[in-house]
Symmetry: C2
Subunit: 256 residues, 2 copies
């Protein structure tokens, strides 16, 4: 039964999209049925899979404004068990357009009800903010996966993010729990990285994944070819670490 | 007469805050009177200068909701000619609270009118989005400075950013022009970096600064000590490049 995992962190550039795309792809090659939803107006998750919605095509925007069903906006990707609901240009205006709508925070969760059961995992990539798009993603989620770049500013933003998650748990989604915390762009030669990693492990005992994503230039090259790392360079360190993370997510699932 | 320069890019983690803090500090040591405004709820620009607003203290939030004057929220920094208007926790909710207010896009520009003349430069650090906070910053600005990380996703977001700037020029601020485009986190060993730099120079002929900011770990360490790079390690490459950028900004100013 589809578990919905929202990938969120309002700090920008911490590896949300890179994680959403590459973890989804790694689970799909392990023959898990995966749906990736791009809730970011920048539409980076889509382009990371080589998929962009044309001007006339329906996207997650139409789903949020109840102008279509989820089945109508799902697209296949190059990877057999991986589908995508793409973002679109109009999503930029969605937060203001949704403000006065009924049940504005539940638009995405309502839209997904009919589709969730067809997937083992549903991942949602969020924009770098705590506005209505991210709130919709957290209200629709079973768990939240938090990528943390091993840098000072990324650690500072954690408190605000956890406050928002607590508010969502209290007011919108009682069952929301923490899926895990992922250390990204880790460079073991840097003191700062080791310090941030220690702080994160102290903050979230047992919730920081054993798999750590190193800084690896192949990960930042892959999107320019519209491919997840597995299709761009499956031998590189970045690909191996996301495959290892996928195994860890599956093991955690089987254990609980 | 204070020139207002907004530092904006909706792509996350491209070096907006690092540029706003270190360019401001570099201009201040050149004895230009500088005001830095932190319009990001993450409040990273403030913490990059070692300044955080306590819970009861007034911030840019109260200025936007016309609950105080700009003079009441200005703080001194450790650097003689550099002042700050800090962000605050309540700013997270400001975008929704402002939606139904009169002249919601001009709140910041109205608030700054009385103060601008006391500074040579006013910098505004923006959050990674194109919502009402960034719109307010662009409506209040004379020019916009766009940091671009030399990576693929950062290039993709440019079209959306330029569309928004054009909309602001047409509807809210006819005089808004491009201050310049700054290449950040540049690593000359990487093909991807060189490619992105070439594309950016082709996109913006004559507007890309000659000064390029290299990837330099000292820049990411400085905020954990609450200091701009000049006070943390003035000899490092990162500090020298921001000083060079400051000289280039002053030269451009004197030339025009
Ligand atoms: N482990 C890594 N090693 C090297 N580069 C990386 C790594 N992870 C991500 N990147 C690159 O760093 C940049 C930021 O990553 P990404 O876009 O995934 O972050 P994000 O949190 O989704 O950003 P935003 O906040 O804008 O949505 C991208 O250019 C990406 O290609
Ligand atoms: N030239 C550089 N070399 C190394 N690290 C850098 C450099 N510039 C910025 N950083 C680090 O990269 C991260 C992102 O930079 P920064 O926070 O300034 O970007 P931003 O665009 O303000 O992010 P956001 O979109 O979240 O506001 C920070 O941890 C910062 O310390
Ligand atoms: Mg992203
Ligand atoms: Mg910032």
């Amino acid at each position: 039964m589809g578990r919905v995992i929202t990938v969120a962190n309002q700090k920008g550039g911490v590896g949300k999209t890179t994680t959403a795309v590459n973890l989804s792809a790694s689970l799909a090659v392990a023959e898990k049925r995966v749906l990736l939803i791009d809730m970011d107006p920048q539409a980076n998750a889509g382009s990371g899979l080589g998929i962009t919605a044309g001007d006339g095509e329906k996207t997650v925007y139409e789903l949020l404004l109840s102008q279509c069903t989820a089945r109508e906006v799902v697209r296949n990707s190059e990877i057999k068990f991986l589908d995508l609901i793409p973002s679109g240009r109009r999503l930029v205006g969605a937060e203001i357009e949704l403000v006065n709508e009924m049940a504005r925070e539940y638009r995405l969760s309502k839209g997904l009800e009919s589709l969730k059961a067809e997937y083992d995992y549903v991942f949602i990539d969020c924009p770098p903010s705590l506005g209505l798009l991210t709130v919709n993603a957290l209200a629709a989620a079973d768990t939240v996966l938090i990528p943390i770049q091993c840098e000072y500013y990324a650690l500072e933003g954690l408190t605000q993010l956890l406050n928002t998650v607590r508010l969502i748990q209290k007011n919108l989604n009682r069952n929301l729990t923490l899926e895990g915390v992922l250390l990204t762009m880790y460079d073991r030669r840097l003191n700062l990285c080791r310090q941030v990693a220690e702080e994160a492990r102290a903050h979230f005992p047992e919730k920081v994944y054993r798999s750590v994503i190193p800084r690896n230039v192949r990960l930042s090259e892959a999107p320019s070819f519209g491919k997840p790392i597995l299709l761009y360079d499956v031998t590189c360190l970045g690909a191996r670490c996301y495959l290892k993370l996928a195994r860890e997510v599956i093991e955690n699932d089987e254990a609980s």
